[in-house]
Assembly symmetry: D2
């Protein structure tokens, strides 16, 4: 059993989620590589020390640059605000260290492109990149993807995805409202999740933004508080997206509905253990929407068998544990096809970021924008 020394940057919400994931991964899964909580970095020395003590990190530091290039570190895990991603990731990649980075990939498309270029260079040396689109590892979402891939839905005609939250209402000023740090608001923070989820589940890519709307409700915010857009998928389906931090009444209600020729699916994260499936080929008298409790390892529901017997719900942080375990599997040599869900790398996250940039552009132009236009400009730039 090989060890992998983790160097993690960030000790807040995501830092806690990742620390927990690296810890739990070996308790509930059997990865071929054992993560070692080597060093954690944060801005405040005392807080970082306390964090390290609580979670069992061997070292604590405020020197991110040193951590990134520390030869003892096998994987740098980036849980910081978006404007720090590029420098940390590129530094680590140049040092030949694997990188797992929070989403969105970067504050700007240009940074994301630079990071992806660095990832491509490092790949030649066997260095891997991962992006924490952790919602892919909600069992119900991975099951949705499997059902689509099995052909149960046939050609997809309609997708609608929402990320409805209300935490922007009355929130104190945080970095996520500051364009200089976050790059964008609802767009990069939460629309990114549903763009990835839709492409992940359908296996199709967004090719055109047909129209969009953005809103900023609080004068001090320099980013979008809400964004809506219509899109076309490369299989011909229509897709609508709405991501907002001002949806009064919803804490974290993201999800999707997908209608195909032969069936349909519906998911919402505030009932994360459930997937609704409509089988349009079922006997008509008993046809309807079937609520699947995705909690049954013996039924082949992904990941859940590692936790508890059927009917014992898992929660939010488990998705990070799934991804941590899968990263360790991937680094241990398991081919991506053998994973329950493919693991997004920097290139895939860059494509998501190009879609988001197309949304911004469509908003400014008040007209439709082809994603290819953005992708080409981004390749041209980098």
């Amino acid at each position: 059993m090989t060890d992998l020394a983790i160097g993690m940057i960030g000790t807040k919400f995501m830092g806690r989620a990742h620390a927990n994931a690296w810890t739990q991964a070996t308790r509930f899964f059997d990865p071929p590589i054992t993560p070692v909580l080597h060093t954690v970095a944060g801005r405040d020395a005392a807080a970082t020390d306390a964090f390290a003590a609580r979670w069992g990190w061997q070292h604590a530091t405020t020197d991110v640059a040193a951590l990134v290039r520390d030869p003892a570190i096998g994987l740098v895990d980036i849980c910081t605000p978006n404007d720090v991603h590029a420098e940390a990731a590129i530094g680590a990649l140049e040092a030949g260290t694997h990188v797992a980075c929070e989403k969105p990939l970067a504050d700007t498309l240009a940074h994301a492109a630079e990071m992806t270029a660095a990832a491509q260079r490092a790949a030649a040396r066997g260095v891997r990149t991962f992006v924490w689109f952790s919602y892919r590892r909600v069992p119900a979402i991975a099951l949705a993807r499997a059902l689509v891939r099995s052909g149960r839905l046939g050609a997809i005609r309609h997708v609608r995805a929402v990320y409805l939250s209300q935490w922007g209402i009355g929130a104190d000023d945080v970095w996520r409202f500051d364009a200089a740090v976050a790059g964008s608001g609802a767009l990069g923070d939460i629309a990114a999740h549903i763009v990835d989820a839709v492409q992940f589940v359908t296996g199709e890519q967004i090719t055109r933004i047909a129209g969009s709307l953005m809103r900023t409700y609080v004068p001090s915010h320099t980013v979008d508080d809400a964004v809506l857009f219509l899109a076309e998928l490369d299989g011909g389906a229509t897709a609508s997206f709405e991501a907002t931090r001002f949806a009064t009444g919803h804490h974290n209600a993201h999800g999707f509905e997908i209608h195909g020729e032969h069936g349909a699916l519906s998911f919402r994260f505030d009932q994360m253990g459930r997937l609704a499936y409509h089988d349009a080929t079922a006997e008509r008298a008993v046809r309807g929407w079937t609520t699947i409790e995705v909690c049954d390892g013996d039924a082949g529901h992904p990941w859940v068998g590692a936790w508890w017997p059927p009917g014992h719900p898992i929660g939010y942080e488990h998705t990070f544990t799934h991804q941590a375990a899968d990263i360790l599997d991937a680094l241990g040599g398991r081919p991506d096809d053998a994973l329950v869900a493919p693991m997004p790398d920097f290139a895939e996250a860059l494509q998501v970021q190009a879609v988001l940039e197309a949304v911004s552009t469509a908003t400014t132009r008040r007209a439709a924008v082809d994603v290819a236009e953005i992708t080409e400009s981004c390749v041209a730039d980098s």
Copy 2:
């Protein structure tokens, strides 16, 4: 096309529901016999006249006895408080007139037995009896029965049925709270419905009351406000029942859950257009509860095809229209087996009343009671 002259007694809640049913039956269905709104009887002459004018009754009267024996009347429809049922029904039956009676059949088991005896005598002359257990004609309930009969559930293991309402809370004094008029409270008024529904859907009969509890919350009430009991079905299943007029938060939430070897069903009237079905033989990965919108005539869902295209809900009063149309079909010679749902007659309603009597007896004795004991005593008495 034959005409059938209806003589209806009662102009309140049930009177309106029945008048509407006789009117709508020929608009949306094609019964072989046409009902004619011949005479309506009520206690208050002016109110009865107004009712007759509004609904198109040819005659209005306050003389119930005359109506009952009027040779011009082909069917007497009884929508009165329970203490009037026996006299009206027996009078009509002796006059050779068909009778359709509201549930419960009577205020007391003895009266119910007398009515049933009269019905048996009249049957020899071709006279029919019907009881308005109208919830049998909720399409979702009839579909539930069809699914059980088709064998999809296998042997039934568990049934739980509730009738949860809150209208007893703060209600002004009405006849339904008076033992002298109603006979019983929640027991005859609403438990009767779920006893009939459970026996109708499962095709099994209640054989034993294993235990019971009754409560009266308002001192001026001389009947039970709530009743709970456990029962055994003749197929071996357990069944629990709760009927209450004091379930804060529920207007009219009656329904059932049934678990069999191979599947399960769940229904609640506050979502009357839906039936939830669990197929335990389905592929395990996508197994769950399927919500069937029972609104699709082309799928064979009973009655709904006569109304509107799929997806256009029907309401409460439609169940009476279904029963009116089915009574007309039955009188026109259609065999009971050909009806979507069998039509309860006095004998069947007497059996329900014996079950309710067994519940009362079990409450008094604080011990289990076999329904057969009640049935035998009742036969002995009559």
Copy 3:
């Protein structure tokens, strides 16, 4: 009590719904004017005769032109395919007869504008027009409007509206798929309903179409099978709309979610008796979404008190009965403000049609379109 002779054109789905509404209006409501089922017109003489007999119409005809100008008729009720609306409505208005017309107002915006001009001329003679946006009279939708108007939601930030049906899948060819008869597909047939509902509930108007997508899935269809668009409301909110006849799994699932500063609302027609309300000013520990069963006349829920006690659901056709009763009230002199819901006239329906035209234009241009541009062109043309 005055009588009003109804002349109705059309005997299919809408003809049945309207005939039922005129019949039931006086049974359950007490309008100041009594509708008389005077004449019904249809294309097939035998079918029209049978329809008249079933529903109690005094006369049946195939001569629509004669009906429209028959001086014995007080109100012409138009339930035909869209391409017939203009000629019938303008004829009746010129004859000084009130008109109630099904939606959408016409097959084309030009026809809708001509009808509205005729309505304005006739208004000088006291002639009224009505449009059957009957979903306004779903009690839950009218309650939603009342809650918004009371200020409970504060400024509205987000609206999303869908009309998800599947009846287009595998449907035989009908006039609704033919552009020459229908004018448009999902746009005029079902998007019209949710455009009206959103404007009705919010009290705000759509000012700009920010982007749109249309799809036709069946080659023989000459209209849109699905349409999506993003819009801005004049109060500043974002709104998204999706209307499709190809949403596998949904019979008739139209509805909306509305998020305001202080609360939110959610409605879907497949649970037409319910409205979900989030009160963001409630005590935080018990804050959530409250499911209101809109079935309680004593609570002030609109219309339902006329039917049955709380907890006894009404259905689809009841909304037409509500509108029929309200039309009779309006003609009896009750001011529009006194109605539970304002009654849409031709001018209001023309505005909806202009919004739909803006959606078509935005689709063609692949760019945003101001509704004012369409409205002005339409005034210029007429």
Copy 4:
């Protein structure tokens, strides 16, 4: 900071849940005492060693008797089949060691009484006992209790509780089906949970079993597969209970509905993050059932603030972590009143076991049984 050495017996389902709880308690909470994973005991030496390695236990043993009396151990945590509870617990208590025991307290009422007597003796020496009724620490259940205690429901009239699972169907033979090991079946295993939950949430005790039914569906089972009973609470309410391992379609659907004078509550574990609350004192027009997502630490929802921001669900095992943290708090001197939920000790678990015994007795007698009769006999015996 004091350390507390844990000695845990059992390495299966509950062993994993408890090991996780002791580990996570200090990561997400700040207890005044730090648990040390000192020794784990199991029957199979190799499996126990592997378990210890995976979870970080310092020692592994197969010698339960030695563990129980090891002076280095501060708390013995019992996660074994029921027939082992008494010997281990009494041994530890006699050694002056705190005990945390899985439910039900014992295989028989006599054993439970002996354990409680031992606990009372040890209490004089400052030794504490705890029972893992961990569902008390589902945030929604604790919130339900707080709402009842605040008086929002007024006097309670009706309670219905179910524990619906299907794992008995087709399950391989395990100790839970063997009377010699488990003592009882559904009764002690799952009915125990809902008896405790109902008494915990209402603050009332069950005084009488009014009737009961038990079923064993599989011939090889020597315990009950299902049990139903009706009960009276000491505040006057009716209560119904059903616990079954043969409820086709339900993995782990336990919960309750409670109706009081002024409000009502509804909870089901398959949506463990939600509590439905009906406030019967709310303005009537908007009255209904409010679904509270119990995920908001800032709202005072218990425990959840220690985990993640609002809207990020926790899962099954978190309830054990809550109890572990609360045990550490209790041992650190925090008075029980200061805990969000009181901590059940052996005496409280004995009362639950007496209720279960009364159910068995009522089943045998086919008659009502007062719980006091059982309690007195049990005191007499011990």
